[in-house]
């Protein structure tokens, strides 16, 4: 089989001859062109997603005060952040909530820091011989602190189930407001634009892959948490519900609040919209086939969030979901997205331009991800 290497593709990028398409453009092309023709014609396909990703956060180093303090309890604008690392390091988790306002939390702190806003820091420590100060109250900005390193343990889910609610009460969930009697159903991936659906076997994405993260260049750090390769797949290798995930990292000081946005889901809590773009190299005909995937070929499972066990009620595909109505056991159910296709398109387009402008080069993964993983669940003792 004919092949291209990442090195060859990067050479084309530097020579200005690389052909780069967005995943939507290549899916359209795939309707009339064979995978061979797409392989011959296209070098890179840009994929993207902009959805709420709760498992996100940033490490921050505030810098030392004089005299110094070993911060053991920290709040930022009254949002408690994790202080159990060294003296002036902390982790701001996106879903941490303000003590006074449940609609405000870590996601907002992250967005505001990135936007350059001032944040109120309060910290306490017990006082030690080397860190005598016990309390501090001050304000910080992204320019006043040392580092803000985004590290999101679980982002960019490969597929996600559709949520509906067969119970007789409205459910307020991280999948949005679900009205009783399966009146509506919400879905949350960008379909044919979604990164891990364009490389379903994760051949080109691994540890060290350079990506677009929140407006800056970031990296895939590891497989994400709850990484699961054993979900059933359809004939196009698409897992039929949530499967692989990515842990991603990048310099939050370089990011833009356009691509990192705090969210609050009623009676659920705070989350964070994260913009991720991943370039997929068209290495061979199989990859060409994978990136040509279309919404109607991407199936997903419909779960009932009205029942705590979330039983599966059926399957559908993204072409149906995007029409605004699916049929579920004879019932017509109104559908709505949770992730922004508009923003995902913007990111895929931006990444394409960065590659064409020679600002973004592709990387060979330093290591590939584990292949046979499944999930453990938590045992209960009482």
């Amino acid at each position: 089989m004919k092949k291209k290497t990442i090195e060859e593709i990067n050479r084309k990028i530097s020579e200005g001859t690389a052909v780069v398409l967005t995943a939507e453009e290549v899916s359209l092309l795939g309707k009339t062109k064979s995978p061979e023709e797409i392989f011959n014609r296209v070098d890179v396909v840009t994929t993207a997603t902009f959805g709420p990703m709760c498992s996100s956060g940033v490490f921050i180093n505030f810098g030392h005060s004089s005299p110094a303090i070993r911060m053991e309890e920290i709040t930022l604008n009254d949002v408690p952040v994790y202080a159990g690392i060294a003296a002036v390091d902390a982790y701001i988790g996106a879903t941490s909530e303000s003590v006074f306002n449940k609609k405000y939390g870590g996601g907002h702190i992250i967005e505001e820091l990135i936007a350059g806003k001032e944040i109120r820091l309060k910290a306490r420590g017990k006082g030690t011989d080397c860190y005598p100060k016990r309390e501090i109250e001050t304000s910080i900005t992204k320019d006043s602190v040392n580092e803000i390193i985004m590290f999101n343990p679980r982002n960019a889910y490969q597929n996600y189930p559709v949520a509906t609610n067969a119970s007789d009460k409205t459910k307020y969930t991280y999948m949005g407001t679900l009205l009783p009697g399966c009146a509506n159903a919400n879905y949350s991936t960008s379909g044919e634009l979604s990164p891990l659906l364009n490389d379903p076997k994760l051949r080109s994405i691994g540890i060290g892959t350079r990506i677009f993260l929140g407006g800056a260049q970031g990296y895939v750090a590891w497989n994400g948490t709850q990484f699961n390769t054993s979900k059933p797949r359809n004939e196009f290798d698409i897992p039929l519900s949530n499967a692989a995930t990515l842990a991603v990292t990048g310099n939050a000081k370089e990011m833009s609040a356009e691509y990192i946005k705090a969210a609050y889901y009623e009676k659920y809590g705070v989350s964070l919209f994260v913009g991720i773009g991943i370039p997929i190299p068209v290495l061979d005909v199989d990859m060409a086939k994978a990136v040509s995937i279309r919404n109607e070929q991407i199936e997903t499972t419909i779960y009932d969030y009205g029942d705590p066990a979330h039983p599966a009620l059926g399957t559908t595909n993204y072409a149906e979901l995007q029409k605004g109505e699916i049929s579920l056991n004879g019932l017509k159910v109104k559908t709505a997205p949770l992730s922004s296709l508009k923003k995902a398109r913007e990111i895929a387009g931006k990444l394409k331009k960065q590659i064409l402008d020679k600002e973004f080069y592709l990387t060979e993964p330093v290591n590939i991800f584990p292949e046979n993983t499944s999930l453990n669940s938590l045992k209960q003792l009482i």
């Binding site: 902009f50 307020y172 949005g176 509506n184 559908t335 709505a336 296709l341 508009k342």
Partner: protein, 139 residues
């Protein structure tokens, strides 16, 4: 002319066919946008009334005589479109069709004339961009 009113029925008036009398005796056309009526409690209707101005005024004085409270609604649904990321979450709960994604999913479209002011979308927006403006004044 057509205008929106919020009408509150005291518990003892709930059984009276007020709306059909308004329609029949005052040549008004009434479109019920939202109803919250359960016996024993104050009932509330949100209606849109179409008809000649004089008929409307007569109808309203009839409501007064019957001891039924009404208030002209000047509330309107406001969406802060500048900050909208077009995620689409709000459209899933809007059954009147007032909030819709454009065909390409690139913009949220609000058609205020279809909005029945149910308010469900307010809680469905993760960026909290939707509100009802509250300068509804008592007439």
């Amino acid at each position: 002319m057509n205008t929106r009113y919020s009408i509150s029925f005291p518990p003892e008036k709930i059984k009276k066919p007020i709306i059909s009398e308004l329609i029949r005796n005052f040549s008004l056309e009434i479109n019920i946008l939202n109803a919250d009526v359960s016996s024993g409690k104050t009932g509330k209707l949100v209606v849109e009334i179409f008809g000649k101005e004089q008929n409307l005024l007569n109808g309203l004085s009839f409501l007064n005589e019957e001891g039924i409270f009404y208030r002209q609604i000047q509330k309107e649904l406001i969406v802060n479109i500048n900050d909208c990321i077009a995620c689409g979450s709000c459209t899933g709960v809007c059954f009147s069709g007032a909030l819709k994604m454009s065909e390409t999913f690139n913009v949220l479209e609000l058609n205020s004339s279809l909005c029945v002011l149910c308010g469900i979308c307010i809680k469905a927006c993760p960026l909290q961009l939707i509100s009802l403006n509250s300068n509804g004044k008592i007439v």
